[in-house]
């Protein structure tokens, strides 16, 4: 198969051009226009990612766009396979939800403010960077996209300008830069070994020789630091809990998924032979530790947003359980692959809902201390229900999307006779139940709390819709997840 532009490939250009041009326009127009431009562009983006997903599903193969007519290896291609299409769609949904949620908070009414301009331009920047990561098919192009993502995410962490969040942003930046430099180091070696950085071409050339293995180790280590897999998660709780709720939602739901997505590309695309050795067991082992430690730490947090952030540490762990399970063949592989991607999507929707919900609670009560949450449920019933629905998905209870994801992974663990991963899945679910229950019981105790600010029902509805989407995923017939299998490079 030579790489050539496929019908519908042109759509991919707009997935880059739309966010970038919208960001540049929002930056120049500033003031009240920034938010409007962002919202319009994001809604158009939702339509665009639906079109891309439909196109991939109909065509039954990945969409490819050769840039400038220069085919790889000399040129660079964009490529959207099933998992790109699914993640593009998830990104759009979460982004639109976040933008609707934040529209009144960062309106820029009464003259341009720092927070409004920075929030909207960088939200658009993050969206463009996510799309570039999801569509990239060239390892160096992906490096630039990853850096774009970091540079857009970091200032959102310290948007409130307090010393504490500035320190968290600096720590995040250091981890992220170290991660991308290790990744870049691997890219240099791969270029030296194969003379191309195109993932599809590399998947046919890759050998298990010294340069390739050293490159794989460095790149994986770098990406794990950026995705915050245990024990490289130290930067995450402070950064995600310190950011404004709308930013936290995007950071936790989407941004940490981008490096994970590249680990998938690397292991199942560039070097499929890696997935058969002992290496996947190590990755999944770290994932298991992340699940247990992250959940246990979430149980002990004194602040709601920190609890939700530690829950992200744990949920990232689940994503890495798919590596030893997807090394199998046939239906088991397909099941583990679908399970892993479904976990990524359902966590994105649930976690966005939970962070936005936590933000609303903090806004209404004036704080997010766990022991003083009493009465929040009477004050914001819709939000607390949304938080609970999101929790349902994280725990993996039916009928949520998280249930189907974890059930598929459990199934794969049993079929490949790796029962220990099944044990991790089950105990992780119990711990998750513990911390979700802690929030629900605390917020349901006592009479309605005194509100320091009024929260509009519209914003509560946005949160509820995101949470419902994460649950509804589990009600779709399994066959509809066939999309994630389209254009897979793995064996």
């Amino acid at each position: 198969m030579m790489l050539g532009t496929t019908p519908g490939g042109g759509l991919l250009a707009f997935a880059l051009a739309l966010p970038v041009l919208a960001m540049l326009l929002a930056f120049v127009a500033g003031g009240r226009q920034a938010g409007r431009i962002a919202l319009v562009a994001l809604l158009a983006g939702l339509v665009l990612s639906l079109a891309i997903a439909t196109s991939v599903l109909r065509g039954g193969d990945a969409l490819v766009l050769i840039l400038g007519g220069w085919a790889p290896p000399l040129g660079v291609a964009l490529r959207a396979d099933g998992i790109s299409a699914v993640m593009l769609l998830t990104t759009s949904v979460v982004m639109v939800g976040t933008a609707l949620f934040a529209f009144t908070s960062y309106s820029g009414r009464g003259g341009e403010s720092r927070a409004s301009l920075v929030f909207w331009t960088l939200l658009l920047g993050l969206w463009g960077a996510m799309n570039a990561v999801l569509l990239g098919n060239d390892l160096f192009n992906l490096y630039v996209a990853l850096e774009l993502l970091t540079f857009a995410a970091m200032p959102l962490v310290c948007l409130d300008g307090r010393a504490e969040t500035l320190a968290a942003a600096l720590r995040y930046l250091f981890f992220a830069l170290l991660g991308s430099l290790l990744y870049l180091l691997g890219v240099a070696l791969l270029y030296g070994a194969y003379g191309t950085l195109d993932i599809v071409l590399l998947s046919r050339l890759a050998r298990a020789d010294a340069p390739t293995l050293v490159a794989a180790a460095l790149m994986t280590a770098g990406l794990l630091a950026k995705t915050a897999l245990f024990p490289l998660h130290l930067w995450l709780p402070g950064a995600h809990a310190g950011a404004p709720a709308a930013a936290s939602a995007v950071l936790s739901a989407l941004v940490v998924k981008a490096p994970f997505f590249l680990v998938l590309r690397l292991w199942f695309g560039v070097m499929p032979e890696l997935t058969t050795g002992p290496a996947p067991q190590i990755l999944a082992g770290l994932g298991a530790l992340a699940i247990l430690f992250g959940s246990a730490l979430a149980l002990r947090q004194a602040r709601l947003k920190l609890l939700v952030a530690y829950s992200t540490v744990a949920q990232i762990g689940y994503l890495f359980l798919m590596f030893p399970l997807a090394g199998a063949a046939g239906a088991t592989l397909a099941g583990a692959w679908t399970g892993g991607m479904l976990q990524a999507v359902s966590h994105a929707l649930a976690k966005a809902a939970m962070f936005l919900g936590a933000g609303l609670i903090a806004e209404a009560l004036g704080h997010d201390r766990m022991r003083d949450l009493g009465g929040a449920a009477r004050l914001l019933p819709m939000t607390v229900v949304a938080f609970g629905l999101g929790g349902l998905s994280l725990m993996g209870l039916p009928p949520s999307g998280g249930f189907v994801a974890k059930w598929l992974l459990l199934n794969a663990a049993i079929e490949t006779q790796q029962w220990w991963w099944g044990l991790v899945l089950l105990s992780g679910g119990l711990l998750t139940g513990g911390y979700v229950f802690r929030v629900l019981s605390a917020s349901m105790a006592g009479p309605a709390a005194a509100a320091v600010a009024v929260v509009s029902p519209g914003r509560q509805a946005v949160v509820l819709v995101l949470a419902i989407l994460s649950v509804v995923l589990g009600l779709l017939p399994l066959a509809s997840f066939g999309l994630v299998q389209v254009g897979r490079l793995a064996p």
Binding site: M23, G68, A132, P155, G161, G195, A210
Partner: protein, 312 residues
């Protein structure tokens, strides 16, 4: 070439030595001085590796502008009393880890396949279609134009990120600390004499980049350096961050590049393709806009966030 091995030998010893000096120096300023020297020596290494385009970039950005940025920061940072160095077990562990990485890289470098895989023949073959003479410009503006475009976007995002650090009351003001005007002295003289030469040189570098070593990044960073010099001497002030002209300058390069890329759907063979008859003029136009935007962005990245609101 009897002298070449001598130069290589000196560089191979001097570069790690100066890196070590920068790493181990007790005080910050000598470490920074060593770093600037490291950048200049690396520029020489790049000449030895047959990459004059990279040598120019490394000297201008890697050593020069980065050096100014770091030294300026060191002057404003109150250095905390030296913290106790980490205990020896941690240092030993880190040293072993780094040694491991170096060893792994060394093994990998020595095990690279012979003959080396290369895209040079393909680049040479396709270069004619770009109507450019400099193969590196061909890669940056045609074959891998998407990297260059995203990178120009990176600069815009970095500018927004740095502005976003402003205290709320200072939004709308001029970026960076106020530089007192140097009325006399040699720096003021330098700041008046050098920019005319430097501006000509910067524009020249950007212009010849299509066919000879140089280009938007190198030219843009020289232009930026000239503005920074005049700014440090108090001769010019950055405009307010809500100035429309300033914002247009920052986005001109990436915006034009993206629009030209989209126009490729209509007037050429697709996204980011150039119309065959107009390839070189269009590339030069894009490069001119990029040079301008890169220069402005680099200035703003050095200057920093707005610190106080300008008086109306």
């Amino acid at each position: 070439m009897s002298g070449a091995w001598l130069l290589d030998g000196v560089l191979l010893l001097a570069v790690p030595a100066i890196a070590l000096a920068s790493l181990l120096s007790r005080r910050v300023l000598p470490a920074l001085a060593a770093f600037v020297a490291y950048g200049l020596l690396l520029a020489l290494v790049w000449m030895r590796l047959g990459a004059p385009d990279v040598a120019l970039t490394e000297a201008a950005v890697g050593g020069g502008v980065t050096g100014v940025l770091l030294i300026g920061a060191a002057a404003r940072l109150l250095m905390p009393a030296a913290a106790a160095p980490p205990g020896w077990p941690l240092r030993l562990l880190t040293a072993l880890l780094c040694l491991g990485v170096t060893a792994g890289l060394a093994v990998a470098v020595l095990a690279l396949p012979e003959p080396a895989p290369t895209l040079a023949p393909q680049a040479a073959e396709q270069l004619a279609a770009t109507q450019l003479g400099n193969p590196v410009a061909g890669v940056l503006l045609a074959f891998r134009a998407i990297d260059t475009l995203l990178e120009a976007v990176v600069l815009v995002i970095a500018v927004i990120g740095i502005w976003g650090m402003a205290p709320d009351g200072a939004w709308g003001g001029r970026p960076g600390p106020v530089q007192p005007r140097l009325a006399d002295g040699s720096v003021a003289l330098l700041a008046m004499l050098l920019p005319p030469v430097g501006i000509v040189f910067g524009i020249y570098l950007a212009w010849v980049g299509a066919d000879a070593p140089g280009g938007a990044f190198q030219g843009g960073s020289i232009l930026a350096a000239m503005w920074i010099l005049a700014w440090l001497a108090g001769l010019v002030r950055p405009p307010r961050i809500d100035s429309l002209a300033l914002r247009l300058l920052v986005v001109a390069g990436p915006a034009l590049f993206m629009l030209v890329g989209l126009a490729g759907f209509v007037v050429a063979d697709g996204f980011m393709a150039y119309p065959a008859a107009w390839t070189k003029p269009v590339i030069l136009l894009v490069e001119a806009a990029l040079t301008l935007s890169i220069a402005v962005a680099l200035c703003l990245l050095v200057a920093g966030w707005p610190m106080r609101r300008a008086r109306a």
